[in-house]
Symmetry: C2
Subunit: 134 residues, 2 copies
C-alpha cells in the first residue's frame, strides 16, 4: 500500500519512478520531522551518490512533495509536505537540546507591522525551545 502510494505520488508529479526516489519518498513519508542531506544519506539502505541525492531533494522540493527548511544550523533540512506560504500558517520548531526540527501547523496568522513603504509578502517563523521528547 505504502509503495503504491509512493508510486502514485511520483506519477502524479510527473517524476520517473526510480529506486532512489522510491526509497527517498518512503523515508520522508515515515517521518514527522526534518532531515538534512546527511540524515537522509545515513537512513538509506544503499549509499546513493551525493549529486543524485541533492538533485532529487531539489526535484521533490520543486514538485511540492517536500519543503526546505532553514533552521539556522548551516545545513538545509527537508520535511514532507508543501512549503509554508502566505496564508498557509506553518512554522518550524527547532529543539535546542536534540536539534530536531518539527513543522508546526495551524498557527494563528501573524500580525506584523512593517515601516512605511515596506510591503510584506511572507512571514517565516522559527521557534526555538525544547521539544516534547526532551
Amino acid at each position: 500500500m505504502r509503495t503504491e502510494h509512493c508510486e502514485r505520488l511520483l506519477e502524479q508529479k510527473g517524476l520517473k519512478k526510480t529506486k532512489v526516489r522510491m526509497a527517498l519518498l518512503q523515508h520522508f513519508m515515515n517521518l514527522d520531522y526534518a532531515q538534512s542531506y546527511n540524515d537522509v544519506q545515513g537512513a538509506l539502505v544503499k549509499e546513493v551518490d551525493k549529486s543524485t541525492l541533492y538533485r532529487n531533494l531539489t526535484s521533490f522540493e520543486r514538485a511540492g512533495i517536500i519543503h526546505r527548511i532553514d533552521d539556522h544550523s548551516g545545513v538545509a533540512k527537508y520535511a514532507f509536505g508543501e512549503a509554508p506560504m502566505q496564508g498557509n500558517d506553518h512554522a518550524h520548531f527547532v529543539c535546542e537540546r536534540c536539534e530536531t526540527v518539527y513543522c508546526i501547523e495551524g498557527l494563528t496568522p501573524l500580525q506584523l507591522e512593517v515601516p512605511e513603504g515596506f510591503k510584506t509578502n511572507q512571514v517565516q517563523t522559527i521557534i526555538r525551545g525544547i521539544c516534547a521528547d526532551c
Copy 2:
C-alpha cells in the same frame, strides 16, 4: 567624533583598538542594513585577511556590537546592534527585489501556540517582501 565614538565602544567592550576593527566598526555604524562577509570585505578600503575578518565579525557578535542574521540566502549577514532575544521585539525584513536585509524594531510580541509538551524559548521572524527603496 565618530572615530572617538568607535574607540570608546571598543574599549568599553574590552576589545583592542586595531585598524581592522576601527574600519569595521565605522562601516557598520554607517549602515542601517545587514552586511555579509563579502559586502564588508568589498567596502573596506584595504583588503583584510579572510580569517581576520571572520574572527572580528565573531568577536563583535560576542561583544554584542553586531548581530548575525540568517536570511536563508546561504550566507550569514551582520548588522549593527544587539541580537534580538526573548522579550526584545526585533525581526528581519528581506527585500525580495534587492536582497537587502533590514532590522525591524518595535514589533508587537508574537503569540504562538505550540503543541503540548513543547516549550518556546525564542521566536525568530523573517519577513519577505518589497522594501521602501524598491
